[in-house]
């Protein structure tokens, strides 16, 4: 069954049309990349899926249910989590606290003042597991704001993962990173995908990542869908080369 179905999504800001009539279908377990030159409307498209913006027209179906107007915090509860282009973490808290907040939010403990022993241990175990999985265990008690850019990004991805999402939305996960960090993040994404049976939609500029990770690629240009297909199709697509790869290369 289809996990995410986007139908004719359009977003207007005044007279500017940021996203025009874009449709997309993501199957469970798929990694989908969204690429396109700057200003192609990728982030706006993403923001509509995650609930940060409401679409002007069109529909978003998650698990067959229309969620076009469901607020962002509710979309988290039905299994969507996202990261941001500029890393959004809790900088003055430790890595452990960052993850713990995410785990507690996900478990619905946000209003609790006293947790019973069982719940506390469960939270603790979940946090340890996330630390383990991300390789941040040795930095668990440091403030996130003091970590390297790559580690901050890793922490953000793990916070999203703590929500036990079925669909993970990653907005330029390797933006502003060096080669080694980019490679590490890609490895992490692949590992998470394999272990957690996640569906992932990611916006990415680094073509090595895109062609390495994605099952299917969608190309946006000037708010419209230019092409869609497997990495092979896209690499061979002339329109894409002209509009994007050619100029980017």
């Amino acid at each position: 069954m289809t996990l995410l179905k986007v139908e004719n999504l359009t977003k207007r800001f005044g007279s500017l049309i940021a996203v025009a009539d874009v449709s997309m279908v993501v199957e469970p377990g798929e990694i989908r990349a969204v690429i396109g030159p700057n200003g192609a409307g990728k982030t706006t498209f993403f923001n509509m899926i995650s609930g940060f913006l409401t679409p002007s027209t069109g529909r978003i179906l998650f698990d067959g249910k229309d969620i076009s107007r469901v607020p962002a915090s509710q979309r988290v509860k039905i299994g969507m989590a996202r990261t941001f282009q500029i890393t959004e973490v809790f900088p003055e808290l430790t890595v452990r606290d960052n993850l713990q907040i995410a785990v507690e939010a996900s478990a619905g403990y946000g209003l609790s003042v006293i947790l019973n022993e069982e719940a506390r241990e469960e939270v603790h175990a979940d946090v340890s597991e996330l630390l383990e999985l991300s390789g941040l265990t040795d930095r668990a008690d440091r403030l996130v704001g003091e970590l390297s850019h790559g580690d901050q990004r890793t922490a953000e991805i793990m916070m999203a993962l703590a929500l036990k999402p079925r669909l993970l939305l990653l907005d330029e996960p390797t933006a502003g990173m060096g080669d080694q960090e980019t490679f590490d993040i890609a490895k992490l994404i692949r590992k998470l995908h394999r272990q957690q049976n996640l569906s992932i939609v990611l916006i990415e500029h680094d073509m090595r990542i895109v062609f390495n990770l994605a099952d299917r690629i969608m190309v946006l240009a000037e708010g419209r869908m230019l092409a869609e297909g497997t990495p092979k199709d896209i690499a061979a697509n002339e329109a894409v080369q002209k509009a994007y790869l050619g100029t980017a290369g």
């Binding site: 996202r82 973490v89 606290d97 946000g110 209003l111």
Partner: protein, 317 residues
């Protein structure tokens, strides 16, 4: 290592409590017990404000309103309702908390300076009610003709006329209130508030209903500030509209900043410094108001992280 760690961690609180508990011993000699009570009460108010400001990241400049409601609630109870100090504290706290809960939905969608401005403005409603409703509140002259009453515990009666006895009552209320605040902040609920302070967008996308949490934090914060207000009325056996005025809110904020917004106990330190300084200045010069203003300016320019913030930074490096 762990022993050492927990020692350095708990030592300041232990010392702090020893100082607070033994305060009358060394302050009473010079007749300053009431000043000690004031430090503790205004410290509680500043800590309560800091629950919202320092730990939720929301700037209220209108907390005096709920402080004042607590004060009037207590005063009016003793004047008109029943000669019971306990009931006075309960009523004061209840009124302040309830008012905050009602105002909350009108303001929680706003942020930053806008939130600050609207909280100030709403606070003034209560100021004008107290100011204008002469027949009940005594208007500008304040609410008089009442005193705090002895507390009957069943097995013993505590006569609160004695400033030292009242100081200890204040300290017990303070201890219970701060224990609850500390417990709240160390809980999943408290962590979700820290999350909002740190990064509202991230909090929202963890599924935390941000506005609802701010409403709760605001109500809790105002609730504790109204307890402080009730105690303040009992301390003075008097309330006047100045307790509700926006300039009073400013002093709570400066206490929190002066002591250190990021630390739990900081505002108490801020209160101690501010109260002692103000007491000293106002006994020395009639222009103490400009000197207090100057304190504001200097703190902002040179101590923005507050006393404990500076210490924390030094020990971290």
């Amino acid at each position: 290592m762990t022993n050492n760690g927990s020692l350095t961690r708990y030592a300041p609180s232990v010392i702090g409590w020893i100082v607070l508990v033994s305060l009358p011993e060394w302050i009473n000699a010079v007749g300053y017990t009431d000043l000690g009570s004031r430090v503790v009460i205004l410290g509680l108010a500043a800590m309560a404000l800091n629950f919202l400001l320092g730990h939720t990241g929301v700037l209220s400049f209108g907390h005096a309103a709920y402080f004042g409601l607590g004060a009037y609630g207590a005063g009016l109870t003793l004047r008109y309702l029943a000669p019971s100090t306990g009931l006075a504290i309960l009523v004061g706290t209840g009124i302040g908390t309830f008012a905050a809960m009602l105002i909350g939905p009108l303001i929680i969608r706003l942020r930053g300076v806008y939130f600050a401005m609207v909280t100030i403005a709403f606070g003034q409603i209560f100021y004008f009610i107290a100011f204008r409703w002469n027949t009940v509140t005594g208007g500008d002259d304040g609410l008089t003709n009442w005193t705090r009453q002895p507390i009957n515990l069943g097995f013993a009666t505590i006569d609160l006329k004695d400033p030292v006895a009242f100081y200890y009552l204040t300290l017990v209320v303070f201890a219970v209130a701060t224990a609850i605040m500390a417990k709240l902040l160390a809980s999943p609920f408290g962590r979700s508030l820290l999350a909002i302070r740190e990064n509202e967008r991230r909090a929202l996308f963890l599924g935390i209903p941000v506005n609802l949490r701010i409403w709760l934090s605001w109500t809790v914060s105002c609730g504790f500030v109204s307890i402080a207000g009730a105690m303040y009325a009992l301390l003075n056996n008097f309330v006047d509209p100045r307790a509700l005025h926006w300039s009073q809110s400013g002093t709570f904020v400066i206490m929190a900043v002066l002591g250190g917004m990021r630390s739990f106990w900081g505002p108490l330190i801020g209160s101690a410094i501010y109260v002692v300084l103000q007491d000293y200045l106002s006994s020395r010069t009639s222009n103490w108001m400009s000197l207090v203003g100057l304190v504001f300016v200097l703190v902002v320019l040179f101590f923005p992280r507050g006393v404990l913030g500076m210490l924390g930074r030094r020990s971290a490096t």
